[in-house]
């Protein structure tokens, strides 16, 4: 059989192709590349995840106000639509970039790569990435950040942590927010802490209320800032 015969296939012939390509692994590799870029510029990064309304943006604003004289801070804000969050953190004193994911329910490493290119990383010490409000899909898509922080609030009820073990398993810090409303909501904070520790004994837990300015120092310590 000649080479030509080997290489040519007549119309309608079947060809099997081995691919062995892992799409989530591709995201993880991009996340590692993001980490290298951030490390090379000495930027510490925090991926902030949590449900819609848990208080992610309020906590970021709170930290910016407290830390803006210590660090040069930027925020990448992810949302399905609007630039409300980017504007809120800008008002608090940080540079911000909005990513609108459209129908996407999470940020991924490629989106962060593109957003990071728009920032002058040499002018930044601390980067918050506010993920899309969702406790499920972001767990599958690491972004390359140094810290994964999950925010839950007592207004979401007593089972938010135990019902979302995957994201808690990936969390370095779990914030239990709106604790000023715990009594009204009949939610036990100790129980939420226990749930988080059962799923991920290595995670740090912090109870906060942005409204009542409770727990800020503990949060800063937990984030090692």
């Amino acid at each position: 059989m000649s080479n030509k015969e080997i290489l040519s296939v007549s119309e309608g012939e079947i060809l099997d192709i081995e691919i062995e390509e892992d799409l989530l692994k591709a995201n993880r590799e991009l996340a590692s590349a993001n980490r290298k870029i951030l490390d090379s510029c000495n930027v510490k990064s925090i991926n902030v995840m949590g449900s819609i309304g848990s208080g992610k943006t309020s906590i970021i604003q709170w930290l910016i106000k407290e830390l803006k004289n210590k660090y040069r801070i930027a925020v990448i804000a992810g949302d399905v639509t609007t630039d409300i969050d980017a504007e809120r953190v800008r008002e608090a004193g940080a540079k911000s970039i909005q990513i609108n994911t459209g129908r996407g329910c999470h940020l991924d490493a490629l989106m962060i790569r593109k957003a990071v290119k728009k920032l002058d990383l040499k002018q930044i010490d601390l980067l918050f990435i506010e993920n899309v409000g969702n406790l499920i899909c972001p767990a599958d898509f690491p972004l390359g950040t140094h810290i994964n922080m999950v925010v839950v609030s007592v207004t979401e009820g007593p089972y938010m942590i135990i019902k979302h073990p995957f994201i808690v398993k990936e969390a370095n810090v779990v914030v239990i927010n709106k604790i000023d409303l715990a009594d009204q909501m009949e939610v036990e904070i100790d129980k939420l802490v226990d749930d988080a520790k059962k799923i991920n004994p290595l995670t740090k837990t912090v109870a906060t209320s942005v409204k009542e300015n409770m727990g800020l120092k503990s949060l800063i310590n937990a984030l090692e800032l």
Binding site: V9, I17, I19, D22, L23, L24, K25, A139
Partner: protein, 125 residues
């Protein structure tokens, strides 16, 4: 994720000069947030009016495996928690051998396009 899988398959098929895609073998880890039935449905819907329209999407689920950095255990993630965690899949919390918590998932988090079968005019470059 379904769009990303389909797009990758279509790109490869186009590169190889395919006129249609007959079959695609896909592996999904049980620790991903993908459901086999939902993914199959999404791929069927998304592939309409593409060369994958008549493609048979064969989707298999990969069981979770872990590695323990405390005792060196490598193998299945066995969960002994409440029943509701074991109905579908469980988050590996501890090493089944030493009960340590420093475990790393080695399998079960993949979305792998393994193999595709194409109908071709001629082999592409």
């Amino acid at each position: 994720m379904a769009s990303a899988i389909l797009q990758r398959i279509l790109d490869i098929a186009e590169e190889k000069g395919a006129i249609s895609i007959k079959e695609a073998n896909i592996l999904i880890g049980e620790l991903t947030f993908l459901d086999r039935e939902q993914l199959a449905f999404a791929l069927r819907v998304l592939s309409k009016e593409t060369m994958a329209e008549k493609c048979k999407f064969k989707i298999s689920v990969v069981k979770a495996k872990i590695k323990c950095s405390e005792c060196g255990y490598r193998g299945k993630a066995i969960y002994d928690g409440p029943e509701y965690h074991t109905l579908n899949f469980a988050v590996p919390l501890n090493c089944p051998n030493c009960k340590g918590v420093k475990i790393k998932v080695t399998e079960g988090k993949e979305v792998l396009i393994r193999k595709i079968r194409l109908k071709v005019n001629s082999i592409g470059k």
